[in-house]
Symmetry: C2
Subunit: 403 residues, 2 copies
């Protein structure tokens, strides 16, 4: 049955076959999306022996799950923070910790789905254009599935970012030129050269991100939070999370859909800007500048779709400063979670929206922690870190006297 | 019932109460161990809603699991590599990927168990002496449980190692003096100052590591591999893994116990040295030197116990050079797993033992990947990494012509 499912354009609604490689609409260039799954249930099984795509196979009827080259993506923990809920004066606060994925970010969910689709369509080559988490993820899954893997990065990439991608041995190519154009050019090159590009917001990546919502539903025993806050760059992840809740609702697994909040850094907030200007389309941000590099996309390819989506969902968009981000990163660590700066954006956003009384005292919030703090240790320079010194001989009295 | 369980000394057999803080034997100074659990079964449940300590609660009858401040440790994937099994010419090869824990190493299992025990005994302060994975883990769990947390590191620690510990805001103290003595001195200071030190091989850390074995049993559907290879430093992890298999065997959950192989780096291999000299006790390694810093312990506090254990288990000890480690790290990455150098030691060991025909062509091996490659990116300097360059305008023809 799943083979009858179609892609449709999120802009003009035009439909496309799912068994051909196509990521954006030929008519209006907006991103395509897999049509909503209307029937499905969770395939119960011990998650210790089950892959994420197997558990939610009903929601991927267009994939041969057995083809999946899983590295063990998904099934990440949700961690409740009573301490921070109290500090923020809200009912409950949870962190969905995506840093426990195989390459330590949420990207692995979408990559797993994308690779499964590529294999199914007979592709032997995959690729992506990225400088960060996505490049690492695609390189790792390409290696696992024994596929020829192309990673396009921008010329100016720092060597410390390049090496953790190169270790997986992809064809790694530094490209000189406009990074925004590279996104579209890579899709075109992929179509011409039989390379399945799993870029940031391609339909299968969005499908992979649905599982974040599915797991939140299960982990909260199907009692929905009021808000789910997602750091937003290209827009693929937030679209997937919203679609996941929507499909569980349509299938009768949940009674309501939480409000999805789009959280950006003030230094690069094209969706936030358009939302608050009541614009219908996003505009490119000139000179983006934020410590949250993982979400520093000046012209998100799913920006228009996200804008429409948060309006329909009755969520909102919020932007926080680098100072607020660094403060939130420290707060998060005091709960035992070290996220990269972009991952602290939802907590900073929750704090801000609570202060503005948008979020109320009796409400519940889930923050999506998208990736590991080890991805960008340079951010640690911005923290005040206290270190004491002592001789071994004096250590005993040092501890006794001071503490 | 669990409260009648005792610690016993792994050296002289003397028994101790489990409800008092004690890590080593007062008579012979060898490490204590929780007595073997003789009755237990797996508490089935969806791992998506279950913590590791809950699932295996029967094997922790001395812990109040509800006190557990879980960050979502354990339930890490096991990844099969058909490609590398073929290259090595063995039946099956698996990687147990511990880098998907909350602080990206296996240490979190033992820390979770240690913190639960500390809380149960009424402690409000915990600590550890470490420069690496364990310091990060104890700092994170201490933050989560809202405990005062003491981390002792050696004076010469590099600042890039210090900051990912400091971000969790423990009392972080650089100590000048012999690092080996710091281990024992910290335990003593802990007893005097009501600080529960969760050092590398304390009994509860060993208990936490049992779950690695439990999960391997479940993930392989209770069909036992011939070998489990563990990178070994202080000795706590390998002891826990062996104890886990032993308890599942005693409880009738498995029919045989795999051989446990102790893998070390040639530049610091005190257990390997003693094993092959047929010595009864380990000797301190002078001038340890290996890229696998996470297992660079010149005088492992559980060394004698591990030596005895691998003899009883009929396993062996093996040591591999830095060159072999770097090569194995690259091989592992080509399977999509980026482990820190110490984590590549088991694969290097498997390769070596296969070449020596110790491991046979029809046998099955599990390698424990202990921590994320992001923990020590300096190792990437040792890899040949291939990067190409191109202009955006020429990218299309570059791809067409070259690939």
């Amino acid at each position: 049955m799943g083979r009858d499912i179609k892609f449709y354009c999120t802009g003009c609604g035009k439909s496309y076959r799912i068994d051909l490689l196509r990521h954006r609409c030929g008519a209006c260039n907006e991103p395509l999306e897999v049509e909503e799954i209307k029937q499905g249930k969770i395939r119960e099984g011990s998650a210790i022996n089950q892959s994420m795509l197997e558990r939610y196979a009903d929601f991927f009827p267009f994939l041969d799950i057995e083809q999946n080259n899983s590295l063990g993506e998904g099934f990440t923990p949700i961690v409740e923070s009573k301490k921070l809920a109290k500090d923020l004066c809200i009912q409950k606060l949870y962190f969905k910790n995506e840093s426990q994925n195989p390459t330590w970010s949420f990207k692995d969910r979408g990559t797993a789905a994308g690779v499964a689709h590529a294999l199914q369509l007979g592709y032997k080559r995959i690729g992506t254009a990225s400088t960060g988490n996505m490049a690492t993820s695609v390189a790792a899954y390409g290696a696992k599935a024994n596929l020829e893997t192309f990673i396009f990065v921008s010329k100016g990439i720092a060597v410390e970012k390049l090496k953790p991608i190169a270790i997986y041995h992809p064809h790694l190519i530094k490209v000189e030129g406009d990074y925004g154009n590279l996104y579209f050019e890579s899709l075109r090159i992929g179509e011409e050269n039989e390379i399945y590009f799993i870029n940031s917001d391609v339909p299968l990546r969005v499908e992979g991100s649905k599982t974040v919502a599915f797991e939140i539903c299960e982990q909260l025993n199907f009692r929905m939070p009021d808000y789910v806050i997602v750091p937003t760059s290209a827009g693929g992840n937030i679209r997937g999370i919203e679609k996941g809740f929507r499909e569980f609702f349509t299938c009768g697994l949940i009674d309501e859909i939480p409000k999805i909040l789009c959280a950006q850094a003030s230094g690069c907030s094209p969706i936030f800007n358009a939302y608050h200007k009541r614009a219908e389309k996003i505009s490119r941000v000139e000179n983006p500048n934020t410590i949250a590099h993982a979400i520093e996309n000046p012209y998100p390819p799913s920006g228009n779709r996200v804008l429409k989506m948060i309006r329909e969902n009755k969520g909102t968009a919020v932007a926080v400063s680098d100072e607020e981000i660094i403060k939130a990163q420290a707060m998060l660590a005091e709960e035992g979670i070290f996220g990269q700066p972009a991952s602290a954006v939802p907590l900073a956003a929750a704090k801000k929206l609570r202060e503005e009384n948008y979020i109320k005292a009796d409400e519940t919030v889930v923050c999506v922690v998208t990736g590991s703090g080890l991805k960008y240790t340079a951010a640690l320079e911005r923290h005040q870190l206290d270190v004491k010194e002592c001789n071994l001989e004096e250590l005993s009295s040092f501890i006794k006297d001071r503490f």
